[in-house]
Symmetry: D2
Subunit: 347 residues, 4 copies
């Protein structure tokens, strides 16, 4: 256990078993098989509404393809300056959308506010065809900083966005953690709060490679299928993604996995907060803990094999001081305790 | 068994087992793990040379990304008019390359000849900046029509291409079948015959989703890594692709799987050829059989559950008459015999 | 006079004068000026219908931008294999459309036929999302080979295209020559014959740099304005393009200029045809003459300063033998006679 | 005179005359003519160094094409948040570069500082392939806010950029104004201060449509020619852009035109500063004046026909209060005085 990333954790045993089970017989490729169709319908039940859903293997593909059908290539996507689409996808959204502009906006704890968005938009008054018009508001739920948007926050953000003519995209690589932590239903945290398109992640939460792009307005998905194929993201043996989601959504596995990760983060956060000299940077609301250690401690922890990711915020004078620790469905109480003991010993 | 596609066949048990085995412990994401590094080195052994190799999940991604580092966006890729990159990727190569042009060229049995390429190129004399200059020759090995290029054919094609200043790309979705059928080494069928970049397929031959892009000149791979990430094709839990290739390349599993598919195709082809009224369309050199049945027979076979893909050739007056049948590692003697019996009964 | 290209000819004096005249006073930029608005309305009169029109400076921009609003980026534009968009724009259409595929189709004398298009399309049956679906038929009027489509030919081509769900684009870099030669009205040769979008050229026919993209269905132009700006093709001092078109469309200047060019081509063609050993390659229907001279003659003509463009047809065994000669509004009877005398003397 | 934009001003008489003069005879198209070649060489004299230069018709094309050869498509261009490439080109740079990211950075008076850039970059540590790596620093000289970079400022910015591995691009739509106002040589304000590529504007300063992209390292221009053609920005009758630059660069016309605009701005700025209640927003260092008028005054000035552009700064609480006034080579002392009288009367 290194607390480096939920991507380091491998897959849940149920997911591995589902892949093995799905290997029976010859079935149509490219999602024409019964399992894929059945699991697609399962999403409608989970979200309690009619919807269109598409499976891909990575979160970057999910975000990029979703945005590519939400914005024209000459328009602008508003996003948090620390969001994955801005910081971690190597200009992928610009690639998928054919050149749409990303407008990075600052906000405490990885969260955008109506005020910040409004201020940013005030700099881009309507003057076609000169400025790229804003087309999409992209939110991350749970955020890159381990926080969550409440239903109320979501509703005011999506209302503002819709009033301004924008569609709302949610990067939900850790949507499961947000749902599990909030106690809200998937519907409450998505379309009932005004979300138009949700990238629903499985990979970080115990799948091998399984992401779903969910369109709550089926009409808005019109050419997603063509764009997915064009970008090489239509898997021929689609049944193996479907199988992962099948297991993931059965008996609330996804919420149990996320819940375990969340609890371990909470325990880790509380333990660190109680140690003199350690400052927790953001509220620990999902499975990520951010903290500043006394000088030299992070280095020592790394030397002990804990891969603390140094969290960097654009323009932050404290850059390099903050460490990110991520828990996963595999993290155990014992691992957290061993780590806390080490931190206490080192300080 | 439907003979529809090798993509319908699921995965070999060794591949499934390898995925399960790879699920131990926390390891670095994005290909930083030891298994990925070890399997990358394994490719160098298999191909008997130093090389750069990158894993992705689909053949469309492999081809598109490979081409994107081989051609500038204003240049032209020569390919067979029935090639996968021209006919089956929904303009994916144009997308990945940022708008490079594909020049489709006709050729019997899915194969390009020096003569056909030379004639096509004669229509595009050097006159920068007006015409898009040719930059890449793309071949398919084994071809979409179930044929193979011999070492001699490859050498003359790649020599012609290199003399004309082109790089040579091979779409090797069925490279394993070509190697197994030819009895040549992977090196003989690739770099020793002048191939610059090979998309080495695993998916159609018993993997779940595993394709490798192999650069025989490491310098030519310079920004593949960035382009793969940008396009959402860098899997976070890369170990699970690496694991597939690990098993695939162990004890010649890949050649055994391909060999079985090839043998079943040979048996099927020979059996069909012996039936009065059935005409084999192309030499059966890998795991694909193309045949024209008497009127009405293909429909009856489909009604019996055999998903015969109607093969279409641009501009061919016989369009709609030809049926494609594909075998896989899972195809059995019994299945072929049952099918041949049915064909005989129906005619 | 070199017969090299109508692009070598400079501008008509009326066009130069109009630019000077338009230089009065401060007027809104980017097409917000009265002159631009007035000239835009003038197009509606010339074409006898309501329409949307946009001015740009080059034919490559006109074609690329027009296609970019006519096709999604994953679809396919059918065009003649010798068309300007395929051969002469350095993969520009692929760039502007974000990666749409061009499907080159052969046809005698630079012209497409329903039969050739139908045959080409038969190779691309509907099978989304695998093949790029055909979205646009692009015709050139007058063609690259100096021929013209008749109204009847246009009507059957556009009917076939519309029945197949395609929009019809016309590259009209030499539309003026086609109109002048046919004696038909601009409307007859465009929307009344089923053309959806016309790139109406001025540059080759006596303007400095003036092309108009005409949408006969205003709804189809929806985001052209944004795409033109994004591509750097919205001129700030738009009045100077508008002024060119103002003069060009006044008192039929455009038809007089084109008529002169056409007549000189006819005279040149007839003169060459009468010379033993010279073979006219295509009917001379606008301002381009194609001929094969006896061996060595073309070289001698070039040595005398006549820049004969060697016309290349993809896959044509006669490549290199055919010479293109283009006349312009500036070509005089005397120049043609002098040239014919020279040819006669050399043979 | 409206002070709306230097784009409203039309062209200098010398420019118009040069176009008329260039209309003699048939000359090669696409820049193959002697005039174009001669004027290209003239740039080397003006800048006192060997260089490559390319002509286009718009500033958006110049910037977009320049950036497209300076950055790979997965990298990042640093620019001022009020720069033209970020605010006014409808996501053009993203289009031309094939999807490179723009990182907008704040800075007083339209100017970037080493400190601001350094802080912004600190948020993007090297971690390929996840974050888009910074590739280019784009500066604007003179700026969108009417200010200028001094030679010292330029040198420290370009040194910082080069040390960080970035190339330096300058949007010089008003480079002439900056040179005229600074008294420095074109070389001092460009390559001698570390600028790699300069977009040298003519259009805003008395040309009709003439922009030059200047590469001070000829090797860096390697495929500009192909990209210009592909984007429809290679004018066939290139002589007419060359002619504009020929006149523009003769007898310092460009500096005289810019000098007049600058002086009128200085006079306007001084006049306004002397009026109680009017606050000059930025130092008036070229031909742009920014001021805040007492409430209601800007509206009254607009009602009198002065088209005051309301200057918007992203995130600025004073948005909507600031007015931009631009002078041009055509602005006269009398016009400025008449305007100042009006302002005085209205307040």
């Amino acid at each position: 256990m290194t607390f480096a990333s939920d991507n380091w954790a491998g897959a849940a045993p149920e997911i591995i078993a589902a892949i093995a089970d799905a290997n029976e017989g010859a079935v149509p490729a490219y999602g024409g098989d019964d399992l894929t169709k059945r699991v697609e319908r399962r999403f409608a039940e989970i979200f309690d509404c009619d919807l269109s859903v598409f499976f891909v293997a990575t979160g970057g593909a999910a975000n990029g393809l979703a945005l590519s059908v939400m914005t024209p290539p000459y328009a602008m996507v508003l996003c948090h300056e620390e969001s994955h689409i801005q910081m971690d996808e190597c200009a992928g959204p610009e690639f998928f959308t054919g050149g749409a502009k990303l407008l990075p906006i600052a906000g405490a704890g990885g969260k955008l506010t109506v005020d910040a968005i409004s201020k940013a938009l005030s700099g881009f008054p309507e003057r076609p065809p000169h400025g790229a018009p804003a087309s999409v508001l992209s939110l991350t739920q749970g955020t890159e900083c381990g926080t969550r948007y409440s239903v109320d926050e979501l509703k005011s953000l999506t209302k503002f966005a819709h009033d301004a003519g924008l569609l709302v995209h949610v990067d939900g690589a850790r949507f499961a953690n947000a749902v599990a932590a909030s106690g809200k239903s998937p519907a409450d945290l998505s379309w009932r709060s005004g979300v138009d398109v949700l990238c629903f992640g499985g990979t970080k939460n115990g799948c091998i490679a399984a992401e779903a792009v969910v369109f709550f307005d089926k009409d808005k998905a019109h050419d997603f299928e063509m764009r997915r194929k064009r970008a090489g993201h239509l898997l021929s043996k689609m049944r193996f993604i479907a199988a992962q989601f099948d297991a993931y959504l059965t008996d609330d596995l996804w919420l149990r996995l996320a819940g375990q990760a969340n609890q371990m983060a909470a325990k880790l956060s509380a333990g660190l907060a109680a140690i003199d000299g350690v400052a927790i940077s953001y509220p620990t609301e999902i499975n990520e803990v951010f903290a500043c250690f006394p000088d030299g401690i992070a280095e020592k922890l790394r030397a002990e094999g804990y891969w603390l990711y140094p969290w960097i915020t654009p323009g932050d004078p404290a850059n390099g001081k903050m460490s990110r620790m991520i828990t996963s469905f595999r993290t155990t109480d014992e691992e957290v305790e061993t780590y806390l003991d080490l931190v206490r010993r080192l300080i």
